[in-house]
C-alpha cells in the first residue's frame, strides 16, 4: 500500500517522469514526502526507493547527507537563525541565544506544544537583512529579538499561513507543462544512452 496519499503519489510520479533517470528525482521526492508528513518517514523512504528504482538504504544514505531533511518529527514551524560571518557581525549569535531563552529549547529542540523547532543555520544568502531568520525556509526579515518574539507569538495564533506554509513545503507552484518530447521518446533515449562510468571518460 502506498504511503504517499493519492495526490502526493500522483505528484511523485510526475516528478519521476521529468528526469531521464528516475533516481534523479530522489531529492524532489524527499521534499515532497516531507511536505506530506512534516518530516521524512521510513515508509516514505521505502516508497521513494520503489519510485526511483533504488533501495531504501540508498534513499536513506542520500537523505541523511542533506541538512533540510529531518528523519525525526519536528515542530510545525522550524525557526532557523543564521550565525555565519555576515550575520555574526550583525548579532546573529546573540539573536540565537535569545531565541533559545524565549522558546525555552536548546538548538535542535522542539517546544513541548510541538509548535516550534529551533535551528542554527549556515549562511542563507540574504546577508543585507542580517541576522537572517527563516521559518520553514521562508525569509521573515526579523532581525531583532523583539521582532522575532512578535513573529513567534503571531504564528502561535495563526498556525501555518499564506506567507509561511507548513514545514516541508518547498514549492507551492506545480509544474503545469509536460516535456517537449513525448514520454515514450524520452524512455527510448534512456535505453539508448549507455551510462558511462567516470573512468571511461577522457580527461579534459
Amino acid at each position: 500500500m502506498s504511503h504517499l496519499r493519492p495526490e502526493y503519489r500522483q505528484r511523485a510520479e510526475e516528478l519521476v517522469a521529468l528526469y531521464p533517470h528516475p533516481r534523479s528525482a530522489t531529492l524532489p521526492l524527499c521534499h515532497l514526502a516531507q511536505e506530506q508528513d512534516g518530516f521524512l518517514t521510513e515508509p516514505a523512504m521505502d516508497e521513494i526507493a520503489e519510485l526511483t528504482g533504488t533501495t531504501p538504504a540508498e534513499v536513506r544514505g542520500t537523505a541523511t547527507f542533506y541538512d533540510m531533511f529531518h528523519l525525526e518529527p519536528v515542530g510545525t514551524f522550524v525557526v532557523g537563525v543564521c550565525t555565519n560571518i555576515a550575520c555574526m557581525l550583525a548579532g546573529g549569535l546573540e539573536l540565537l541565544e535569545h531565541a533559545q531563552r524565549s522558546l525555552g529549547v536548546p538548538v535542535g529542540g522542539t517546544t513541548s506544544d510541538g509548535l516550534f523547532t529551533l535551528e542554527e543555520l549556515e549562511c542563507l544568502g540574504d546577508c543585507s537583512v542580517a541576522p537572517c531568520v527563516q521559518v520553514n525556509h521562508r525569509f521573515v526579515h526579523t532581525t531583532s529579538a523583539p521582532a522575532l518574539d512578535a513573529l513567534v507569538a503571531e504564528l502561535r495564533e495563526t498556525g501555518p499561513n499564506g506567507d509561511i506554509p507548513a514545514h516541508g513545503t518547498l514549492s507551492r507552484v506545480r509544474r503545469a507543462v509536460g516535456l517537449a518530447a513525448p514520454r515514450e521518446a524520452v524512455a527510448e533515449e534512456r535505453t539508448r544512452v549507455r551510462i558511462a562510468t567516470p573512468s571511461e571518460g577522457t580527461a579534459g
Binding site: Y19, P20, H21, R23, S24, A25, T26, L27, P28, C30, H31, T52, G61, T62, F65, Y66, D67, M68, F69, T83, N84, I85, A86, M88, L89, L121, E122, C123, L124, G125, D126, C127, S128, A130, N136, H137, R138, F139, L170, S171, V173, R175, A176, V177, L179, A180, A181, E189, R192, V193, R194, I195, A196, T197, P198, E200, G201, T202, A203, G204
Partner: protein, 434 residues
C-alpha cells in the same frame, strides 16, 4: 570616485515589484534576444559569448566561452545551471532568481541553442524556497509563451528545463557534487580526472555547468554583441559584475558595477553603493571574494575590482561577496565562525578536510571562549599546512575538491594580520572583547 555609468546589464528589472513576471519581462524587451539568437547559427551565438570574454561568475572565474567549446561531441549532452549559491555572504544569484527568473531562462535557452543541448536543469539551493517557486512559475509561463519546450518560437529547436531543488549542502556548489545530487546521490565531489563535466558529466554524458549570474548576462550579450560587453571593464575582467556587500557598512546589498574601473573603496564608501562604514569605524580588514578567499587589510582598499588584480595580491574575487570588518570586530572570532562553517559542510570524503576542519574549529573555539594555549597559534598553522601544504595562494590541494584547501584562508589571514590578538586571547583566557 566610483564609475557608475555602465549599463545595468542584469539588474535592469530588480526595481520593478513584478520583475519576475512574464508580462513585465516581455514589456521590457524580454525574449527578443532569444528570437535573435534563433535566427543566428549556434556557432555564431557561441562566438558572441566568446568575444564577450564572459568569465564564470560562480567563483572560479573560468571563461564561459571556453567552457562551452570543451563540450565533448555526443548525441546526448546536458546544460546544468548552478544556482546552489551557498558561499557565506554571497547573495547575488538569490536576487537574480527571485527578481528576474525569465532573464535566466532566456539565457539558458540561448545557451542551449548555442550548445545544441535539448535538456537543461537549473539546480537551486533548497533554502531558496521563494526563488524555487518564482523560477518554477516562470518556467510554466515560458512554456506557454513558446520560449521553452517543443519547437521554440517556431524554430524547430526544442528544450526542456527542469527545476531541481537542493536540500541543504554547501558542497553541492562544487559542480561534480552538484551533478551527484542531481543524480539522486549524496553530494560527494567526484574524483578528478576527468576534470571537466564537459567531458564526463551528468549520467556520464558531456555536460556544461554554468552559474546563474553567468547565464543571466547572455541575453544582453546577444542583443548588444560580445564586443559591447568586452568594452566594459578591462583586461580579462569584462562587463559588469554583481558584488554582494555585507558586514559593517551602512548600505549592505547587491550592486552591479563595472569591473576594474571601480575599487573596493568605491564599493564600500560611495553614497550610491555601500555608503561608508557603520558609525564611520575604520575598516580593520575585508574579505574580497567569499569566505574561501584570504583577507585583505585596509591598505588594499584602492585595489580595482578585477579578477587578475585581486589574484595578483594573493586572494580572489571568487563569488563577488565582500565582507567588511570594523576595528571593533574580533579576528579570532571571525576565523572561528568561518572555520566552523567549513567543518560542518565538509562532505567527509578526504581526511585532511574532515579531520583537519574539526581540529581547527576546536582550537579556535578554545582560543575564543577560554582554554587557549600559546602554542595554539603554531598548531593552527601546522594543521593548515597539512591541508594546503605551504599555505600558498592559490592553495596546494590534498583533497578531492577545493573545500579543504579553502579552510586555511581565514585562519592564515587572521594570524598573519592580527597575531597579537591571538596571544591576547591566550593571556585573557578568552576573547578580551567579551
Amino acid at each position: 570616485m566610483a564609475k557608475l555609468d555602465a549599463p545595468q546589464i542584469i539588474t535592469s528589472r530588480v526595481g520593478f515589484d513584478d520583475g519576475f513576471t512574464l508580462d513585465r519581462y516581455v514589456a521590457t524587451g524580454g525574449y527578443e534576444s532569444l528570437r535573435k539568437a534563433l535566427s543566428m547559427t549556434p556557432a555564431a551565438v557561441a562566438e558572441e559569448v566568446d568575444a564577450a570574454s564572459l568569465l564564470g561568475r560562480g567563483g572560479a572565474g573560468f571563461p564561459a566561452g571556453r567552457k562551452w567549446s570543451m563540450l565533448r561531441k555526443d548525441p546526448v549532452t546536458y546544460l546544468v545551471v548552478n544556482g546552489d549559491e551557498s558561499e557565506p555572504a554571497t547573495f547575488k544569484d538569490h536576487l537574480l532568481l527571485e527578481r528576474d527568473p525569465h532573464q535566466l531562462i532566456e539565457g539558458i535557452v540561448i545557451s542551449a541553442w548555442a550548445l545544441q543541448v535539448s535538456q537543461a536543469f537549473v539546480f537551486i539551493r533548497g533554502e531558496f524556497a521563494l526563488a524555487i517557486e518564482r523560477v518554477e512559475a516562470a518556467v510554466n509561463e515560458a512554456y506557454a509563451h513558446g520560449a521553452l519546450g517543443r519547437d521554440i518560437f517556431g524554430s524547430g529547436f526544442s528544450l526542456d528545463l527542469v527545476v531541481h531543488p537542493g536540500a541543504g549542502a554547501y558542497i553541492c556548489g562544487e559542480e561534480t557534487s552538484l551533478l551527484e545530487a542531481l543524480e539522486g546521490k549524496r553530494g560527494f565531489p567526484r574524483i578528478k580526472p576527468p576534470f571537466f563535466p564537459a567531458a564526463v558529466g551528468l549520467y556520464g554524458q558531456p555536460t556544461v555547468v554554468n552559474n546563474v549570474e553567468t547565464l543571466s548576462n547572455v541575453p544582453w550579450i546577444v542583443a548588444n554583441g560580445g564586443r559591447a560587453f568586452a568594452a566594459l571593464g578591462q583586461g580579462r575582467s569584462t562587463g559588469t559584475r554583481l558584488f554582494a556587500l555585507s558586514g559593517r557598512v551602512n548600505r549592505p546589498g547587491v550592486y552591479e558595477i563595472e569591473m576594474v574601473h571601480n575599487t573596493f573603496r568605491d564599493l564600500i564608501y560611495d553614497p550610491a553603493l555601500g555608503g561608508g562604514t557603520v558609525d564611520g569605524v575604520a575598516v580593520k580588514a575585508f574579505i574580497p571574494g567569499g569566505v574561501s578567499a584570504p583577507w585583505f587589510g585596509p591598505e588594499l582598499l584602492d585595489l580595482p575590482l578585477g579578477q587578475d588584480e585581486v589574484a595578483e595580491k594573493g586572494s580572489m574575487l571568487g563569488s563577488g561577496s565582500i565582507v567588511v570588518f570594523g576595528e571593533q570586530d574580533c579576528a579570532v572570532r571571525a576565523a572561528w565562525r568561518i572555520t566552523r562553517f567549513f567543518q560542518r559542510e565538509s562532505c567527509g570524503q578526504c581526511t585532511p578536510c574532515r579531520e583537519g576542519s574539526g581540529w581547527l574549529e576546536r582550537i579556535l573555539r578554545r582560543l575564543e571562549f577560554g582554554g587557549g594555549r600559546h602554542e595554539d597559534v603554531d598548531l593552527l598553522l601546522d594543521v593548515c599546512d597539512n591541508i594546503a601544504p605551504g599555505l600558498t595562494w592559490p592553495p596546494q590541494q590534498t583533497t578531492i575538491c577545493v573545500l579543504g584547501p579553502s579552510i586555511p584562508s581565514s585562519i592564515h589571514s587572521a594570524i598573519s594580520m592580527f597575531k597579537d590578538e591571538f596571544y591576547a586571547h591566550v593571556e585573557h583566557g578568552g576573547c578580551p572583547r567579551g
